[in-house]
Amino acid sequence: MFRKITQPLGAVVLVSLLALPVKAEDQPLRFPVEIPGPQPGQLVHTPPTMEDLEASNLHPELKRTIRRGYDLFMNTQQLRGENVFNDMNCKSCHMGEGRLPFAAPVWRAAVVLPNFRPKNQHVNNLEERIAGCFSFSMNGTPPEYGSDNMVALAAYHRWLARGVPIYQLGNYYGRGYPIDEPEEEPSYTRGEALYEENCAICHASDGSGLRVDGQAHFPAVWGDLSYNWGAGIIRRFTLAGFIRNNMPLGQPYSMSVQESWDIAEYINSHERPQDPRYTGDVGETRERYYETFHRHGYYGTEQQGQLLGDHDNVGEKDFLRPWNLRPRTYE
């Protein structure tokens, strides 16, 4: 389903993906979810579901491939030790099966790529964009371009974009994790207290998350089993926006803008595996990727008396740089 908003809508309009219930007795909800509505001019898309897939007349082999992609997206840990070397799944950041607005819904990548990407300074297609997540957020190495798993993941993204005109490089409703600037300078100390109160029950006071019978359950938010120093979410605005729009689970927008920035400040002031683009010198690496990336994070800066990222720790994997991190020059 796809439509372009031409009329101004209220601030809290719920489009069909977000139509929330009122209790049978019409009592107001104690924990309402008030997802911001679309702005005039925004392109609104409600991605199809897996039930829609089953009901569709797509070729059975295509359905099988998309199902495989969905399964990998929801349980990326099945690639643990092969492509994934931390406790993350695709769904950890792209919540609601990659469909939810303001949880970085993934279908957009299928309709705006190939496009130039500042992070790596060349044109990326959908597979290379997915590969980026494996290299940084999963602290791993991607499935080969064109491999069964990569085709399946790309097919799931493409399926979610069903009906969206391609190459409308416009203003998509629900993109990313938007957040306003904080009123005050974010505070590590306030962030620590807020983290203990609101986050530690799942993500643990030491940031290591929770494993159940040796399997990842609640993701680690710092440390060896978390995203590495090259992941987009080490940027303060990205993590603050993720928190504001999505956390605690089931209670989005319950943390204020300021609180979200404070918690992000605290989490992203902790150590994590090395940036795969590491040159061997943290200062040089910060400098090289400063404008396009590291100026938004604490990598290569001193926090709480410690120079962050000044180490050779790559986490669980036994390599630094996966094969896909390479320039594309056409020369």
């Binding site: 929330l20 979810v33 919540m95 029950i201 929770l210 159940v212 689970l249 209670q251």
Partner: protein, 214 residues
């Protein structure tokens, strides 16, 4: 100023604390078995509880997380969790007995769950979807996103719900909906429960009851 006795007590506490794994509740299963006599009228000697259609169901305690069980009875004692049947019994146990009983039940083998036998295939399929995939259109996150792989529990705060009696699960979801139960950390459960309707509750309870608890 600390007395010598206090210093000794603190040191012993630290020593004991040091020697135990962080998650272990300090309790003794053998002592717990004796103290659990007061529980068995409802929860049964084997900790199986009982599913009572159209009545009040009693949860299975066998194989549940000890810290979770302990916290719940502490909440009954403190009045932060309220249930008329449970109230008098909760007051009968000392703190140590409570720890012992919790450890005892946590170590008993899981017993089968009942309830939801009359649920239709369609309802069971809906229950499975809610339990494993959720209904994000209504911001009902999957049960398993907190309650762990297979909904078999995750740590001390998120109890196993697979293989629990359907009657008990449905009762609790309704209790959260109407505010009778309000002792969940950060209202993580209350926020979800109040978005559910009666069909959701019956479907998910029926499906979960039929799943393996471990």
């Amino acid at each position: 100023m600390q007395s010598l006795l206090m210093k000794i007590m603190i040191s012993s506490f630290l020593l004991v604390g040091w020697s135990l794994p962080a998650w272990a509740l300090d309790g003794d299963a053998q002592r717990g078995e004796a103290a659990a006599a007061v529980c068995s009228a409802c929860h049964q000697a084997d900790g199986s509880g009982q599913n009572i259609p159209d009545g009040e169901s009693w949860p299975r305690l066998a194989g549940m997380n000890a810290d979770y069980l302990y916290k719940q009875v502490k909440d009954f004692q403190a009045g932060t969790r309220v249930n008329a049947s449970m109230q008098p019994f909760a007051q009968m146990l000392t703190d140590q007995q409570l720890r012992d009983v919790a450890v005892y039940y946590s170590q008993l083998p899981v017993t089968p769950a009942a309830g939801g036998e009359t649920a239709s295939e369609e309802d069971l399929a809906w229950g499975e979807k809610l339990a494993t995939r959720g209904d994000w259109e209504r911001y009902i996150v999957p049960c398993s996103s907190c309650h762990g792989p297979g909904n078999q529990g995750a740590g001390q705060h998120f109890p196993g719900i697979a293989g629990q009696h359907a009657g008990y699960l449905a009762q609790q979801l309704r209790a959260w909906q109407n505010g009778d139960r309000d002792n969940d950390p950060q209202h993580l459960m209350a926020a979800i429960a109040e978005r559910m309707n009666e069909r959701d509750i019956q479907a998910v309870s029926a499906w979960l009851a039929q799943q393996p608890a471990n």
